[in-house]
Amino acid sequence: QPAKSKLDDVLSRGRLVLGTGSTNAPWHFKGADGKLQGFDIDMGRVIAKALFGDPEKIEFVTQSSDARIPNITTGKVDITCQFMTVTGERAQQVAFTIPYYREGVGLMLKANGSYADYAALKAAGSSVTISVLQNVYAESMVHAALPQAKVDQYESVDLIYQALESGRADAAATDQSSIAWFMTQNPGRYKDAGYGWNPQSYSCAVARGDQDWLNFVNTALHEAMTGVEFDFYAASFKKWFGVDLAPPQIGIPVEFK
């Protein structure tokens, strides 16, 4: 008899245990009411709706970014949706779903700061300091765009911005989506340097070795991006990234393109 799938567990439990963070807008953060919201959260809702027909049947497990993979491998969560960049190394430890967002890195400057744009930053060479989220590859990532810049790595997104604000850094480098969100929250104070690089895909992740469960989640996400739940996906996209998505082409499956 085949091993029981996580899918059966979740269904019989009646709610989805979703691992995510609580400190990174617009992906996952708490509103003024203390409730979790953001694009990652909406992806969880998509899956819950596919499971139970009710997007609210989710138990959130908030976790720091260090805890994303351990919580999956030790079975503390059914799935993690937490702006997780897909890499080969990570894929050896967990199974990634299909991507639900494609991201690039951007640079944010102070609106009235001494550097006008990317070209000015690049020209200033080693006299600029860039604040960035902690990461082994953060340095090479920044140097790909600004070969001589100094790099300061911080633990959380708010500290990157704080470094820029207090003059500890001349520009903040992070996901374009985060920059966009931050600028809409603080209109007029910051500007985008107008350069993006370092593409990456964001996926949810589940434990390895449970093809059934992975298939299910993939299906749910796929249909949100191309099928019956597209409206929900598009509304969420608009809400968190401020972009209107064109509806998927009728008649021809996307895979056909």
């Binding site: 609580s22 400190t23 990174n24 807008a25 953060f29 708490k30 509103g31 003024a32 203390g34 497990v61 908030t62 976790q63 720091s64 260090d66 805890a67 351990p70 030790t74 079975g75 503390k76 959380s156 997104v157 708010d158 500290l159 911005y161 704080q162 604000e165 931050f182 929250q185 603080n186």
Partner: protein
């Protein structure tokens, strides 16, 4: 740093912050109480245990005290689950802090017990008290007075260490603050406000310790 928007936000999140504060206080209290009780056993074993037990406990305290609390927290959350003990983050975190606390209390108690003149134990024996009675009525009351000042330090350290539970997602004061910051991006004012709340908690512990100390000084 404009004060107006900050106060406005502060008002909006007042209950959320209070909840974080409460969680911090309850984590710390539970860890201190459980850790102290466990620590008494550790201290007894360290002082009076048979040699193998004493070595074991020496290893335990040295290892636990040298390990970053963060690691204890992670170990108690993840490692215990691999051996089948499923604790939720709150329980796992409190357990880790209590274990940490116990190693400190154990050491302190050993120092205090060893500082009591041997004559006290002998005088207790001479009037026929058993070891158990001598400990409760003669040694412990004297050791407590000795331990109190350092115990207060440890209690304050537990409050400090409770922040590390945010790693495994326990919404204590620091994580709550960070969540608010990630929405409002008002890093410094909220960090300082949290700092002030921590100060109040620690200061309360300090005053409480001083109070108990005063109440229990041996008149002379």
């Amino acid at each position: 740093m404009e004060l107006g928007p900050f106060l406005n936000e502060l008002w909006i999140v007042r209950y959320i912050l209070l909840e974080g504060l409460w969680r911090t206080v309850s984590i710390s209290l539970l860890a201190i109480v459980a850790g102290s009780l466990l620590g008494v056993l550790v201290g007894l074993a360290l002082t009076y245990g048979a040699l193998p037990l004493r070595w074991l406990m020496r290893g335990y305290t040295d290892f636990i005290r040298g390990t970053p609390v963060l690691v204890l927290v992670l170990a108690s959350y993840y490692m215990l689950s691999t051996i089948g003990l499923q604790l939720n983050p709150f329980e796992a975190g409190v357990l880790a802090l209590a274990v940490f606390c116990s190693s400190h209390v154990g050491e302190m108690l050993r120092g205090a017990l060893q500082a009591i003149p041997r004559g006290q134990t002998e005088a207790a024996k001479v009037i026929g008290l058993t070891f158990h009675q001598a400990f409760i009525y003669v040694l412990a009351p004297q050791a407590i007075r000795h331990v109190l000042p350092t115990w207060v330090n440890t209690a304050a350290e537990m409050v400090k260490a409770s922040t590390l539970l945010s790693i495994i997602g326990v919404g204590e004061l620091l994580l709550t603050t960070q969540e608010i910051i990630s929405r409002t991006f008002m890093s410094l004012p909220f960090y300082f406000f949290a700092g002030a709340l921590y100060f109040v908690v620690n200061y309360g512990i300090e005053r409480f310790g001083k109070y108990v100390e005063r109440r229990t000084t041996i008149p002379s």
